[in-house]
Point group: C2
Chain length 209, copies 2
Amino acid sequence: MLPDVAEVKTRRGEYTEATRRALLDAAARLFTERGFAKTSLDDVAADARVTKGAIYHHFSSKTGLFEVLFDELELTENTAARTAFEAESDPVLGALAALDQFLLACCEPVYGAIVFREAPVALGWDGWRRCEEKYSYALLDDLIAGMVDGGMIAASMRTEATVSVAFGMLGAAGQLLARTPPEDRERVRGECRVPFVALLTGMSTSTHS
Amino acid sequence: MLPDVAEVKTRRGEYTEATRRALLDAAARLFTERGFAKTSLDDVAADARVTKGAIYHHFSSKTGLFEVLFDELELTENTAARTAFEAESDPVLGALAALDQFLLACCEPVYGAIVFREAPVALGWDGWRRCEEKYSYALLDDLIAGMVDGGMIAASMRTEATVSVAFGMLGAAGQLLARTPPEDRERVRGECRVPFVALLTGMSTSTHS
DNA sequence: GTCAGGAACATACCCGAAGTATGTGACCGA
DNA sequence: TCGGTCACATACTTCGGGTATGTTCCTGAC
């Protein structure tokens, strides 16, 4: 690593952590701008002012690098959404609060691009789903369970299919927002809420199949 | 091309069409089994008993080959779904008929795998969406328009966001079905219908945002 | 104090796969 | 029959992910 901005000489660990951070930041930028497939590891390394050796020292592979980045983003966002959910006493209001938190996060360009646009490409659909099982799938499952236990929706809704389809909705909304020019995001975000509200309404009234 | 099974010597055009067909069939098989990324063009060529030169003679690139395959599958399926939709006089029943046709097609392993599992990987998310605009997006748009015009749902539903989110639902259901072992498909297909019915129900009753 | 050892990278190389350039035989119209 | 073009095959280039190895610096043990 070129010591061009190395004013502070502290402990070694801080240096290596800085390198790791620089790599993750560079990857986030380039993957968001050019896409995962069209970004080479040399590009990422150059952007972080290191070489490819540093990448393979800190991460297992290109996919591994992406996965760490993915986990970072999804952990913070998912925690925020879960917090919003649990802050409400009513599960339906909690679900809406979590939804709003999610849609808001998708307006931030990096999150939507990495988690919903690039992740299927980088990890494959199976890998993507595997990674999401800790986050969105788990949250959706809890969310639906809460509404079922509260008697708001029918128990027949608590299936893997419902969770998958709901996740598909979130993904589509996220990608749409990530692609929408900033000046239109507020409007589109409101429009995205509509089908979710309709789904919740339909779930609570329809007890038949 | 090795003339090992060249019993019938007919016109040249039929030979070349047979080669093209063989390439598309081989691609469909291998992309479905191994995935797009893990299938090389040499593999496809070998499976069709030709070489890579034949591929680049008939198609523009690996992506181009996939796109032709995608268009073929999506054209037939989309036509069937549209036919099912237009056969019903009531738009809501028509939408359900189209949905059932779609879910049924997803149980056929090639369609679901190519159109929903591999397409985002092969074409990137933007390219996928671009290709789908002719098919699923257009059909969903007409479908929603029909329900709005018939007064079944609020006009506020007719937005790009609703179409996108509905497409995300279909995609998720399709991928789930494509991944589900054959013996469970019937059950899962029924479970997949539930959130769609709930969405339609919710749309028709909720006139507020 | 020094010396072994490992952490944190850099450098050089390998290899698979997409894409390209060129060769070749067969057919077809003139 | 002869030039041209179609329908491929063959040989080559390029690019990028991954690996193997070198190098420097710090750290801790004696």
